[in-house]
Amino acid sequence: MKTDDLIRGLAADAQRQRSLESGLALALAAGLAGAVALFAMILSPRAGMPGLLMEPRVLMKFVVSLSLAAVSVWLALRLARPGADARPLAWALAVPGSVLAVGVAAELLVTPAQGWMPGLVGHNAVYCLSLVTLMGAPVLAAALFALKRGAPEHPAWAGAAGGALAGSLGAALYALHCVDDSPLFVLTWYGLAIGFMTAAGALIGRRTLSW
């Protein structure tokens, strides 16, 4: 085909397209609806829930996971745009990182050493891992679906950002149920679950997000 002909054809297909942001927002709404449905089927909010948010250790779980989710959205959108450098945004990961670091430091300073290990092991570590992953799965699918409309230079990185987003939203949902409040537990098990989702996002993204 002649390039001039191709151009004529492309121009005839000039309908308005949904922006990357609104595409991601719509997909995330659907993915979150799926995750909430899973939560409603399997779990229930822990006793005393809205009130417990005044408790610093409980609040920290939400601040860490939701701020990581926000940074991940920002990174994913940047990574999905050709020619946009996402590296300057990586510093924003320090926000959830430092909140968690402060929480862990406070725990180590304030609580006696013999409580550290029981806190870390918690009551439901395996449960936590599998449920964060399970509730993150619909969000991951939705995020990758939306990012597929993007044009990432590094598909694995864009997929990783989508995975971190899915993992952190799954973690935020699980935190509504989770009775393990030690920052050591959050660091270890939430961290593992989110890390797993990030790796899964990178692996799937590498294959599906190239264009």
Binding site: K2, L6, A12, D13, A14, R16, S19, G83, R149
Partner: protein
Amino acid sequence: MDDRERRWMQLMQAALAGDQPSYERLLREIAPAIRSVVERRLRQMGAPTGESEDVVQETLLAVHLKRHTWRPSDPLGPWLRTIARNKLVDHLRRRGRRAEVPVEDFADLLAAPEERPSTEADDVERHLALLPDKQRSVIRSIAVEGASVGETAERMRMTPGAVRVALHRAFASLSARLKADE
């Protein structure tokens, strides 16, 4: 940012709002610029420059299908360079050449000459032949024969909406087939 980039950005903004003439003008202006840069890169790499039109067409397809990833607040140059480089790398990889093409190599895209006649390309043509009948006929009617969406709809006994959908799907599957063509 030079005048040309500014003009292209205005055209692209209009294009994103659905302005077809501006979009066509933009594509006609960026095609020679892409062509000249791609030819030079292929020559530097000792690859046949006869393949450059394939890369130009793949780049135009990608620009089209990914145009919503450009934001009016961003400069157009880096966006366009990255897409062109990605498609050149893809093309070289498909032809079995290891490809390390720094994006800086495309820095002169915006300074490339405006006039450079196109040569023949066959990758798109080859994949076009493999598309479902309806998509292929719609592309042929609109792109090659220059018919409007309305005329094509009448001729093919489809609604104009169905013609638009078929046209869009055809470009999306052309691009996917080019990508998968190892």
